[in-house]
Every structure is written in C-alpha cells, then in structure tokens.
Assembly symmetry: C2
DNA sequence: AAGCGTCCCGTGAACGTTCACGGGAGCGTT
DNA sequence: AACGCTCCCGTGAACGTTCACGGGACGCTT
C-alpha cells in the first residue's frame, strides 16, 4: 500500500532540495530560519520520519549490541541485563534483548538471526564455541559466566572460590561442622560451585559429603532441602548453588520447623536483590551482577574498537561473602 | 581505520560478481554448488558480514520495536518486558529495550533517540502525550498502563476495580472490617487503585479512612505499614498499591509481632512471581503481566500494518483476585 | 565598479545491498 | 543446423539518506 514518505517528498512539498531538508532535520547551520520552519511543517504534515537504514548506511555511527539470555525472569539475568543496559546507555548504544527461554533451539535460532541485526553480541550461551563461531561469522562476541576456549571469543568470568571459602569460614566460625550443599546439575555434571565448596570444606578438614541436587526454582530448592535433610538430619548449615534455590530452602526449613538461622543456616550464591525480600534476609556469596553486565558491554566495545585486549584478570568478577540474616 | 569488508571485496577474491555472492549468502537457487562453496570460503576468509543497513534499506522486512520502561529491576516491568519479548519473538521481531531509570530526563532523551532506531515504540511513559507526540513525529506508539487521551496513541489499559472489589469482598467474608491501604503517590496525587479500594469499601458500608503512603520499595512498604499501624492499631487487614510494597508490609508485620494472616491479612496488587517467594505467599489482585506485554506488541503490530483498530475492551487487562497465603 | 566575504541552497556521488533483467554456455529435440 | 530450454552468472538500477562541493545572491569594502 502507501509508499514510504521519503526526504524527496518533503523537499517537494516544501519547495526545496533534499539537502535543505536534511539540514533542517539535523540542525546544520547553513539554513534560513523561515526555510527551516517551512521544511519542519512539511515534515509534520507528511508524517515523515527518516529511514534508519538509509541514515545508518551513510553515517556509520550507531552501534547496537545483542544481549542473549536464557530467561529474563530469572532474577540473575534480570540484574545482568539491567547492568548491561545501563552501561550501553552511558555510551549511547542500543541493546536488542533476546530471551531464548532456556531452549537450545531458540538459542540456535537467535544466533542465526542476531548476526544480521547487531554489531556485537553479548550473552549467556549454552552452545559450543564451534557452533557459535559458525553462525556468528567473525562478529565480536562476549561470553558471560563461562570461560572461552578459543581466543576468538571473549568472556566475563565469575570467580567464586575465595567467596565460597569465605562463606565456609564464616559458617565454621559460627560453630557449624556439618554443612551440606544444594547443587544444580545443569548439564548433568557437578557444577564448579560444588568444587569450590568441596575445596573450602576440605581446607577445614570437613567432608563435603552431604550434597543434594535441585531444580532451578524456588520449589526445586524447597524440595531438595527436604530430601537432603531427610538423608542428613544432622546438618546445621547448607550452601546452595544460587539464591533462587536458597530461597526455596528457606521456605522448606520453615515448613520443617527448622528456624533460620538458629536451627539451620543458609547461604546462597549470587547476592541477588531477591535475597533481601525474604525474611530472614539471605546471606549469600554475592556477585556484582550489574558489573557483570557492564563488563560485558565494555568488552564488546573494546572488540568493536579493535583495542588491545585486557588481561583476563580485568574481565573477572569476584564473588564475596555478603552476610545478612540467614547465618 | 581498516575499511569495512563489502560484498564487492568478497566478489573480487572469489572471482565472481556481487550478485553471485548475494545468491550464495541468501540461499537463492541460481548458483552452482562449487561456486557457492568458493564464495562461502571467501566470506569466511575475509570475515565478511553483510551490512544490516544496506540490507534493511532494500528489503524492508525486519521490524524493530522499542520498549521503554522506567526500571527493569522492578519485577512488574521485568514481567511485562518478558511478555513483550516473547510476543515479539513469535513474530520474528526485534526489541530494543530502554531503561530510563525512573528519570524524566532519561525518558526524554530516550524518546528523542528511539524515533530513529525503531519502527514502533511501546512502553510505560510518564511524559505528557503532547511532548511524546512532538518527538515521536507520527511513529506508532502504545502506552502501557495509562489511558490515551488523543486518538494519536494507543494504550493497554489495566482495569482493577472488579479485582479490588473481589479482594475486599474476600477480606470482609473472612471477617475483616478495619481494612487499611498503603498507597503510592507517584505524581503527588492519589492513585486510581486507591479509588478502586475506596469504592469497594464503600460498597460494604466501610470507611476507607486508614490510608498510608509508601515509597516504591520493600523498605518503603515496611516503613509505611509500621506508620499506618501506629496510627490505626485496630487494622486487621491491609491492601497495598502493589506487591513490592506488600512484601515490605509482610516483613514489617513480622517485625511487629503481627502474624500473617492471623493477626493481619495482606493483599497486594499485580500478582507478581515475587509474591510466591515470600512466606506466607502473598495474596494479590493479580494481573496477567505477560499478557500486558504481549498485547502491547500485538497492538504495535496492528498500528504498523494499518489494520483497523480493536475496541478498547480488547486492549484491556483485568485484574483478578489471586488468593495465596497472606489472607 | 570591481572585488570579496557571508549566507543560503542545490547537484552529483557515495554508502552496501538486493531486485529486475539480460544473456552466454551447454544440451537435447526436430 | 536451427531452435528451445535449463542452468548459471553479470550489469544497471533502486532503496533513502548524508557528504563534498559548487555556486548564486547580497552586502560591504576599497
């Protein structure tokens, strides 16, 4: 139907050339006041809006970043996304957000389409680097929460060994000896966080033998804690894969008549805002999630600009113990 | 520095014409297998990625929507955003998310820039329609949670009178007579939700006289409930502007030794997931937030396609009482 | 009156891709 | 041998904007 209104249409009805229209729209100097007004009137009358494609084609200034996450409703990713948006806004960049709904198929589809929509991509991927590379064809990409194996990718790493060690130290100092863990086995293998936990326990000469497995949800955490306590009733503290599971554990503890923190201490991971809405507020090995998102954007910027790469220590977010009320 | 790799560069190194390169990349039929492979090799070797601007300029197929929200970390907007992303994905559309950080200045800046980046805009704005219109210059726009005054805009309305009435009915049936409210006065005027509450109370011959005012945060809710109960110790139930404030109220009630729901019933508004992580789970006048986001995207699509407009009843989301554990 | 500077404005080119069209090579049919 | 068809491939044009440049009108100076 009705063709698009172009700059030439505006020029015609205003009785000027397209260049003059361009001048009026971009506040260039070389234009008479009355002419400018006439052009602006014509613009309004015709409902003209410049084509972002034509504009972007000639002046190569706008940068757009693709942010790929598995689930925006997962508060961890919400916070990371918020951090990324904030950092992008500070640079005048635009962020297209893709929620792959935790599906590998959706992720694959997103990867294929994102390459022709953005200048760089940032996100939490589950696909192998080889497959990512095949579709991304050279586009700058930053992996979040996952170490890159090929120099072709960048990554924002999350280092939690020290933080988990802090958490275990803290629990031990409070007198706890029997400390369990609720892990999350994403790809059917124990998480790195579990290894951190085991190391920290071993450093105290304690056994990390009471480890349960939870689904990534509040209900999953509640269920898992119930099971774990049934198997190991002597547990006085529990560390969880993340805050979501910990919140579930909090609820289960209450249901089981175990007062937190007196009868059972709970330590989460991530340090989400979520931990402050529950009661008691959750002690957690906290990440600066905002910084995770911001670092990813910054790194994308460096790749885009072809700047020299930072040492990997700079692309690291360290988790630190954040003591609230559940321990 | 280094110029961009164009389709002509690829054509040259592959020894073909640009059209052949285009054919290879877009899986058009009229190309020999070996030629296609040769082109693809050249593409990989040079790291060529087609310009989205040049491509978008000629084939006008990709649509991009701007989503403007005041705070992605506010779980209400997170859920709306997730709904919008889901609906957009289903249509193969792209969504650029702008978080204005609750600042009018940021919102103004976003409005100015968004017009040259997207095909339509959807969001929760605080600016007046006149100002929006001035910058948006004819771009399709959908207002969320706010009724449009000019036919120039569309809106997704939220109707909660019946839901709030349900909530009050429910409380009265449980024997409550002294029911207070924690309102949120955004622009220094009582909210529409307060009016709904007052109407529902009046229908029962009850006075809506115990109304406090809260800041939009968990702490704000806690503080406001403490104040309200100090003024009106006889309150046995409280309705809040939204779930965030309600969660704060839950915490304050516990601090004050008021057991929920036995000593104090709490009803929130929005029906967020957030209400399920607290204990007791929050009863709330619930909105289908996912639908709010989806409707906004759908409506943007109708505007873009120039389709006939739906009656406003179709662009409405009704809140319904969702009884959980806090009443 | 010639020269010069300032203020406006317009025209060709370029950005990088796809579309529409034309055409050559090779093979089979009559 | 002429024709037609299929399979490939290439060239001009178009998409809508900004950039680079040229130039006319006008006023002021000398």
């Amino acid at each position: 139907m009705s063709k698009r209104v172009t700059i030439n249409d505006v020029a015609r009805t205003a009785g000027v050339s397209r260049q003059t229209v361009s001048r009026a729209l971009n506040d260039k100097g070389e234009i008479d006041g009355s002419t400018k007004q006439r052009v602006l009137d014509a613009v309004r009358e015709l409902g003209y809006r410049p084509s972002r494609f034509a504009r972007g084609l000639v002046r190569q200034d706008t940068t757009t970043i693709g942010l790929v996450i598995p689930d925006l409703l997962n508060p961890f990713f919400t916070e990371v996304a918020a951090g990324a948006l904030e950092a992008a806004r500070a640079r005048g960049w635009h962020v297209i957000v893709y929620d792959t709904a935790g599906s590998v198929e959706e992720e694959r589809g997103t990867i294929e389409v994102v390459v022709s929509q953005v200048d760089a991509v940032v996100g939490y991927f589950s696909l192998a680097e080889s497959e990512l590379d095949a579709h991304l064809s050279g586009m700058p990409a930053v992996l979040i929460g996952r170490e890159h194996r090929t120099p072709r990718f960048s990554s924002i790493r999350i280092e939690g060994a020290a933080g988990v060690r802090e958490a275990v130290d803290h629990l031990v100092a409070k007198g706890h000896r029997r400390i369990g863990m609720l892990d999350y086995e994403g790809r059917a293998e124990p998480s790195i966080r579990r290894a951190w936990f085991a190391d920290a326990m071993n450093a105290h000469g304690l056994a990390a033998d009471a480890v349960g497995n939870a689904v990534q949800s509040v209900d999953g955490g509640a269920e898992a804690l119930t099971d774990l306590l049934a198997k190991h009733p002597d547990l006085t503290a529990v560390f969880t894969f993340n805050d979501i599971i910990a919140v579930g554990a909090l609820r289960a503890a209450r249901r089981l008549g175990r007062a937190v923190p007196d009868d059972l201490a709970v330590v989460g991971f991530d340090g989400l805002q979520l931990g402050t809405v529950v009661d008691p507020a959750l002690t957690s090995v906290a990440l600066d999630t905002r910084r995770v998102g911001a670092l990813a954007i910054e790194q994308a910027g460096r790749l885009l600009a072809g700047e020299p790469q930072l040492p990997s220590e700079e692309l690291l977010v360290n988790a630190v113990l954040l003591v609230r009320e559940s321990t």
